[in-house]
Symmetry: C2
Amino acid sequence: AAMPFPASAQQDPLPSWNDGAAKQAIIRLVTATTTKDSTDFVEPADRIAVFDQDGTIWAEHPLYSQALFALDRIATMAPQHPEWKDTEPFQSVLANDSAAISKFSEKDWLEIVTVTHSGMSTAEFETLVKDWLPRSSNPILKRPVTDLVYVPMLEVMSYLRANDFRTYIVTGGGQEFVRPYANAVYGIPREQIVGSSTVTNYEYKDGKPVLMREPKMFFVDDGVGKAVGINMFIGKRPLIAFGNSDGDRQMLEWTTAGDGARLGLLVLHDDAVREFAYGPANGLPDTKVGAFSQSLMDEAASRKWTVISMKNDWARIFAEPK
Amino acid sequence: AAMPFPASAQQDPLPSWNDGAAKQAIIRLVTATTTKDSTDFVEPADRIAVFDQDGTIWAEHPLYSQALFALDRIATMAPQHPEWKDTEPFQSVLANDSAAISKFSEKDWLEIVTVTHSGMSTAEFETLVKDWLPRSSNPILKRPVTDLVYVPMLEVMSYLRANDFRTYIVTGGGQEFVRPYANAVYGIPREQIVGSSTVTNYEYKDGKPVLMREPKMFFVDDGVGKAVGINMFIGKRPLIAFGNSDGDRQMLEWTTAGDGARLGLLVLHDDAVREFAYGPANGLPDTKVGAFSQSLMDEAASRKWTVISMKNDWARIFAEPK
Ligand SMILES: [Ca+2]
Ligand SMILES: [Ca+2]
């Protein structure tokens, strides 16, 4: 598809961003930390950037992609589980009852994720994810989930990497769900995916070791877990952090509490025409998926975090279908 | 100090290694995985090397360096704990009773490590480690612990990195104990240290977040934990793994179970003259610190792992004191 930008935009590292405070803040942070005589200069080895995934670098409505994966797995596994036909929450999933699904409790989701994400080796799980991705489909946008990546954020990642930043995903989603596609979709290698994980058991099959995924969480990389995860997996404080919901609060606090130039940014979904509109911050509709509360908006103001308006800051959101 | 090698050795990537099966196996693995037309060629992004720390890349006798740190901390903390004067295991530590210390149980050590490694922020802990290192002293070799690094292994790390491998430490020791010095001592950055960790709590001090170290283990990176840790922190299977004790068994199994060329190596401490001699494999003296059992030796033979004899394979062990 032709790029809807003038030729001069080739010099622009962020062509899908409209000029404004968000774009300027990103360029200012990169310039300050990479200019050799700047007081905020940072050695390349310490240039770390962290990105939440759902709602920050790809679409998360009406349901997280990993939830769509889990629901599709329920359908696939149903023949081996005749009891699901009359047991909730499985009954509603098999009936494709999206009204009921949208009202599932945390406990319902935990049950669905547990049964669909454990009982196989890490290698087998990866194969399930890879096989599912090309036939995945966002129920509203009707495209595979890996098509629903935000082009402006891909540009930010490329811009940061061109300036010797390493880009990490720090997601509440499953680390082993994201790893199989992150390099192809975002250019982020497996070792730079920080995410939630299950307990794994070391076992032998035909004399070779396998790691079996157990029905028990090991690490929940959300909220305070994101600060803990950044410390544990990276051990360096990021210079810049991108999030979109209350689960990113501590990640941005941890990032921006560092010395020197730091930047926290939050994506606000205020574009019902091109994507979705939800908050409840700024009077936008409330949601159970990726809520951006007014309290987070207030903290963003007091801590001088930058709010990215999808409607105003992004000249485009998704790549054209191929 | 002058290098005790002929000028022609400048071409040799491993000048502190005597010619032999171990040196040849390392060079063969690197050549096979980095030669473009080799069937075992591996892209640079997937060239991962993992090293156990204690007894593999630095000395661990008579006690692990982190144990020495903990004992010194007990002495420093004693004025605030008058009750330690007549409570074991602290009493023996304060009396410098090395016979009693050598007989401490796992429970004794857990108590010592817990009290000395928790109750402070991650940043405060790092300062304690950094302040201690230059005044640390191995009780037998009488040098700071960071001097007791094995030169042949530093050469292996440099050789691997020159061939676009990334070198990781995978240690049963504390991840946050190793991070403060690993870059200076081994050239390994903080994000490439996989180790054991405590639970941390996210708290605020003067409006800024801190991670407080709690008296509770979160992850034990030893034995099966090393395979789990490699999967969780790196997510790529190493091409080459170096260990020295039974705690490295699963790390070597996991590494060498991969497709293509892989190499597992175990350092055998069989040099009582220049360092220490302990097994109990091959009839060497038994030990509570870094035991290399006969069962591990048997598995090394059956899985074709390479055993490195410190006595025969290494032309030198430590760098000369500066
Ligand atoms: Ca999110
Ligand atoms: Ca060891």
